[in-house]
C-alpha cells in the first residue's frame, strides 16, 4: 500500500525523522509496474511500439491492453507461440538519491558534565540524507491463457524482498465477439488513462501522482486512492480502434487489502469514459472523464488496535466520498505532448473529522453508536490539477516535467487555515534508453522533485521537501 509521506509529518520527532526517511525510501521503491518485455518478445515489437517511453503506454499500447493484451491476430493465443515461451518479466531499479526535508524536529544535546551528552531539547532543522539504494522487485507475468482470455499476475516485493500481490486478475475479452464487453475480476489497477503504475518518475513524492492519493490533513478515509490497485470487478469496452472507451468497476472499499475484512460491506465504483480524435499531423488527441464514488467504513466492532492489529469494521457507519475530474492527452506532433488530469474531491464529514482509516490499524476515530461530530464540522472538499508535458527527442530519450497543485476549498474543522494541507509539486527528469530492442528494457534515469505543503511543518509553517535521484531502471 502506498501512503504519502506528508500525512505522516505531524508528530515528528527524532524517531519521526527516521520514519520519514524510511517512508520516502519505501515510496521510491514501491511497486510500479507494467513494462513487459515478455510481450515485446512474444510479438517481436520494440518497447517503443507500445510505450511512449516505458512504462508509460502510448495509444497503441493502450489498445493492446484494452484488447486484453492481444494484438487481435493469430499470434495472441499461447497455443501459437513457441512452447518454450514463458511470459515472465522482472523489473528492479538500483539508484542513488538525496532526500532533503525542511523543518524536521531533531534533538539538541548538551554536556552531562561527565564527558557524555544528554538530550536537552529539540529544534527544527532541515535534514538531508543521501545514499545508494535499490527498489523492490517486480515479477510480472501476463498475457493470454487462450484467445480472449487474459491474465495478469504481479508478485511485488519491497526492497527487503517482502512480497505481496500487487496485481492478480483474469479477464474475459471480447465477449459475444464485441470489443465493447470485457470483464475483469481480481486485484487490478483502476482504469486511469494516465496510469500511476506506468509513471515515468521514481522519486518518493514525484514517483506518484499526488492527485491520485490526496486526502486532507487529518482525514480518515484511506480509500479514494485512485493510484492504488483495488479488488473488484471491472467491465470495460472500446471501439475496434480504441478511439472510444469506457469502463465501470465495482470495488471493495478496502484499498486492495486482501483477506476479507469482517463485516465490511462497503463498495465503491470507478467510472471512466474517453474519446479520441484524429487531428492529422498533430496526432490523436484524447479527452475523457472519471468519477470515483463510493462508501468506506468509519465504524469498528473492536477497539482501535495497535499498529497492524486487526480491527473489524462494522456493518453500519459507511460514509461516502467522491473524486471526479477530466483527463486530457494532447499531442503536438511526434515530439511534444501534454497530459492533464483534474480533480474535484469530497469526503464525508466523518472522514474529515478523522473517522475511518482502519487499514493500517490506526483508525483515529470510531463512529460507534452515539458518537457525534464536533459542532460546525463540514465535509472537506478540494480541487487539483496535474499537468505533465513530455518532450520526446526520440523513442530512446524522453524529457519529463510535471506540475501538480491541490487546493483545499473547504476545510472540515472550522477555523482551520484555508490553505492548510495544500500541495504544490514540481518534477523534472529524463529517461535515456541506450538501446531499444524487443527483448529488454534499460533506462538511465535522472530526476528531481520538489514538493511544497502549506502549514504541515511541526511548527505549523510550510514544509518543503526535495529529492534528487539517479539510477538504472531495467527489466527483462
Amino acid at each position: 500500500m502506498r501512503v504519502s509521506s506528508y500525512s505522516r509529518l505531524r508528530d515528528v520527532s527524532y524517531f519521526g525523522s527516521l520514519v520519514l526517511f524510511a517512508v520516502t525510501v519505501m515510496l521510491a521503491c514501491s511497486p510500479r509496474a507494467n513494462a513487459l518485455p515478455a510481450f515485446a518478445r512474444k510479438y517481436g515489437l520494440r518497447c517503443s511500439a507500445c510505450h511512449e517511453s516505458w512504462p508509460m503506454l502510448n495509444y497503441f499500447g493502450q489498445k493492446f491492453k484494452d484488447n486484453g493484451y492481444q494484438l487481435m491476430n493469430d499470434r495472441d493465443a499461447p497455443i501459437w507461440q513457441n512452447p518454450s515461451y514463458w511470459p515472465v518479466t522482472f523489473r528492479i531499479t538500483p539508484i542513488w538519491h538525496r532526500v532533503s526535508t525542511g523543518k524536521v524536529m531533531v534533538d539538541t544535546y548538551g554536556s552531562n558534565g561527565a564527558g557524555g551528552s544528554v538530550v536537552t531539547g529539540s529544534t527544527l532543522q532541515r535534514v538531508s540524507n543521501s545514499g545508494f539504494d535499490i527498489s523492490g522487485l517486480d515479477f510480472h507475468t501476463g498475457g493470454t491463457l487462450e484467445k480472449n482470455i487474459s491474465f495478469y499476475v504481479l508478485p511485488s516485493s519491497n526492497n527487503a524482498a517482502q512480497f505481496h500481490f500487487e496485481t492478480v486478475m483474469g479477464r474475459l475479452d471480447n465477449l459475444f465477439g464485441s470489443s465493447w464487453l470485457n470483464v475483469k475480476l481480481g486485484k487490478f489497477e483502476l482504469d486511469n488513462l494516465l496510469s500511476e503504475k506506468r509513471i515515468l518518475t521514481l522519486t518518493g513524492n514525484g514517483g506518484i501522482y499526488q492527485l491520485y492519493h490526496f486526502r486532507p490533513q487529518g482525514d480518515g478515509n484511506v480509500f479514494g486512492q485512485m493510484g492504488d490497485n483495488q479488488l473488484g470487478l471491472e467491465v470495460m469496452g472500446h471501439s475496434w480502434n480504441d478511439r472510444t472507451r469506457y469502463s465501470a468497476a465495482l470495488l471493495s472499499s478496502v484499498d486492495g487489502q486482501v483477506g476479507l475484512p469482517y463485516g465490511s460491506n462497503a463498495y465503491s465504483g470507478f467510472f471512466t469514459f474517453s474519446q479520441a480524435f484524429d487531428t492529422g499531423k498533430a496526432g490523436v488527441q484524447r479527452i475523457g472523464a472519471y468519477a470515483f464514488v463510493g462508501e468506506a467504513p468509519t465504524n469498528w466492532l473492536t477497539q482501535t488496535g495497535p499498529n497492524g492489529a486487526t480491527v473489524i469494521p462494522g456493518a453500519v457507519g459507511n460514509k461516502s466520498f467522491s473524486r471526479e475530474g477530466f483527463v486530457g492527452q494532447f499531442y503536438f506532433g511526434q515530439h511534444v505532448d501534454l497530459q492533464v488530469v483534474t480533480q474535484h474531491g469530497q469526503d464525508s464529514v466523518w472522514f474529515g473529522q478523522g473517522y475511518g482509516d482502519f487499514i493500517d490499524g490506526v483508525a483515529s476515530g470510531n463512529n460507534t453508536t452515539g458518537t457525534t461530530l464536533a459542532a460546525g464540522a463540514q465535509a472537506p472538499s478540494w480541487n487539483g490539477v496535474l499537468v505533465e508535458p513530455h518532450y520526446i527527442y526520440s523513442p530512446q530519450l524522453i524529457f519529463i516535467g510535471r506540475f501538480e497543485t491541490i487546493r483545499m476549498s473547504q476545510q472540515s474543522t472550522p477555523g482551520t487555515a484555508s490553505n492548510f494541507g495544500n500541495i504544490s509539486t514540481y518534477t523534472i527528469g529524463y529517461r535515456y534508453n541506450p538501446f531499444m530492442t524487443s527483448r529488454a528494457g534499460f533506462a538511465w534515469h535522472n530526476e528531481y522533485n520538489w514538493l511544497h505543503q502549506d502549514g504541515t511543518a511541526p511548527d505549523g509553517t510550510n514544509l518543503n521537501t526535495s529529492e534528487l535521484l539517479m539510477g538504472f531502471d531495467f527489466d527483462f
Binding site: 517481436g44 517503443s48 497503441f60 491476430n73 484524429d278 492529422g280 499531423k281 490523436v284 524487443s438
Partner: protein, 289 residues
C-alpha cells in the same frame, strides 16, 4: 527424391545469385540513396503524405522488424515468420494492381491499417490518417522503383452479383479448371499436392492459405479483397495472378465458392450444404471434376 532435386536446385540458384550480383546495376542501397528520395509523397484521399514526417513513427513502431534500411533485416528478422517485408525491393503482396506492378498508395495505406493475419504485422489502426499516409511515403522512399515507375492501374472489379446456388456451382468449376487445389487442396485446407514444396521469392518455405482454419486472408477478408487476391496474385509468393484466365464474372463465382470452403458461417456455406456440393475430384476427366 524430390527433396534431393530441391537441394540440388538451391545450390544452382546460389550460383546464379553470384552471377547475378556480378552483373552491373544491381546496386546496394545506402542511406544516401534514401536521402535523395526523401521528398517522395503519397496521396490517399485528399491527404498528402511526406516521407520525412514519418521518420519518428517508423523508428518507434517499425524498425524492429523492417530495419533501419527498410530491408526487412531488423533484430526480429531471424525469429519471425513470415519474414518482414524488404521495402527496398518494392515488391508487395497486397495490391489492387496487376502482378509485377507497384501497388497504389491506398493499397499500402490499407495494408498498414489492416495488418497481416498469421504474421507479426499487427493492425496499426491507432495512427491518424495523416500519420499513416506519411508512413506510406516513407515505405516508398526505400525503393528506387517509385522514382521511375508509376503504380499499376487497379484492376476493375464489377459490382458484386447476388449469390445463387448456380454461381457457387460455377465457382466450383472455376476452382477445378484453374486448379486452385494444386496448392490449396480440394477442401481448401492448404494441403494440395504442390503445397509441401512451395517457396517464396527468396527461397523460404511458405504455406498456401488454409481456408478451413478460420484465419483471415492476408490481404483482407471482404469478398472484394478475396476477388483481388487471386486476380492480382500475391507478388513475392507462389500465388500467381489469374487475371488472364478467369473472367470478371467467373471471378465472383469463385469468390462465392471459396466462401464455402471457409470455416466462418456464410450464406454461401449454407447454400453449398443445401446443394450437397462435393469437393472437386482431381482424378475425374477434365470438365467433370
Amino acid at each position: 527424391m524430390q527433396r534431393n532435386n530441391l537441394r540440388k536446385w538451391s545450390s544452382v540458384f546460389g550460383a546464379a545469385a553470384v552471377v547475378a550480383f556480378a552483373m552491373p546495376s544491381s546496386a546496394q542501397q545506402t542511406k544516401y540513396d534514401f536521402e535523395t528520395r526523401m521528398n517522395i509523397e503519397s496521396h490517399v484521399g485528399n491527404i498528402t503524405g511526406h516521407a520525412k514526417d514519418a521518420k519518428p513513427d517508423y523508428r518507434r513502431y517499425c524498425v524492429g522488424c523492417h530495419g533501419e534500411l527498410g530491408d526487412g533485416n531488423g533484430e526480429n528478422f531471424p525469429w519471425v515468420d513470415p519474414k518482414p517485408r524488404n521495402f527496398q525491393l518494392g515488391v508487395f503482396k497486397c495490391r489492387s494492381t496487376p502482378t509485377g506492378t507497384l501497388p497504389t498508395d491506398q493499397d499500402l495505406f490499407d495494408s498498414i491499417g489492416r495488418g497481416f493475419d498469421r504474421s507479426n504485422m499487427p493492425q496499426w489502426s491507432t495512427f491518424t490518417k495523416q500519420e499513416r499516409t506519411d508512413l506510406v511515403a516513407w515505405v516508398k522512399h526505400f525503393s528506387p522503383r517509385w522514382v521511375g515507375e508509376k503504380p499499376g492501374t487497379p484492376i476493375t472489379i464489377p459490382p458484386e452479383p447476388e449469390v445463387t446456388p448456380e454461381r457457387i456451382k460455377a465457382g466450383r468449376e472455376v476452382f477445378a479448371r484453374v486448379q486452385c487445389w494444386k496448392c490449396h487442396g480440394v477442401l481448401g485446407q492448404g494441403d494440395g499436392p504442390s503445397a509441401a514444396t512451395l517457396t517464396d521469392d527468396l527461397g523460404r518455405p511458405i504455406a498456401p492459405f488454409n481456408f478451413a482454419e478460420g484465419a483471415r486472408p492476408k490481404c483482407g477478408d471482404t469478398d472484394k479483397d478475396i476477388y483481388r487476391i487471386f486476380m492480382t496474385g500475391l507478388d513475392g509468393t507462389p500465388m500467381p495472378s489469374f487475371a488472364d484466365n478467369i473472367k470478371p464474372d467467373e471471378a465472383w463465382d469463385l469468390v462465392f465458392y471459396l466462401r464455402t470452403l471457409m470455416s466462418q458461417h456464410s450464406k454461401e456455406k449454407a447454400m453449398a450444404k443445401q446443394l450437397g456440393l462435393k469437393p472437386v475430384d482431381p482424378n475425374a476427366p477434365a470438365g467433370q471434376q
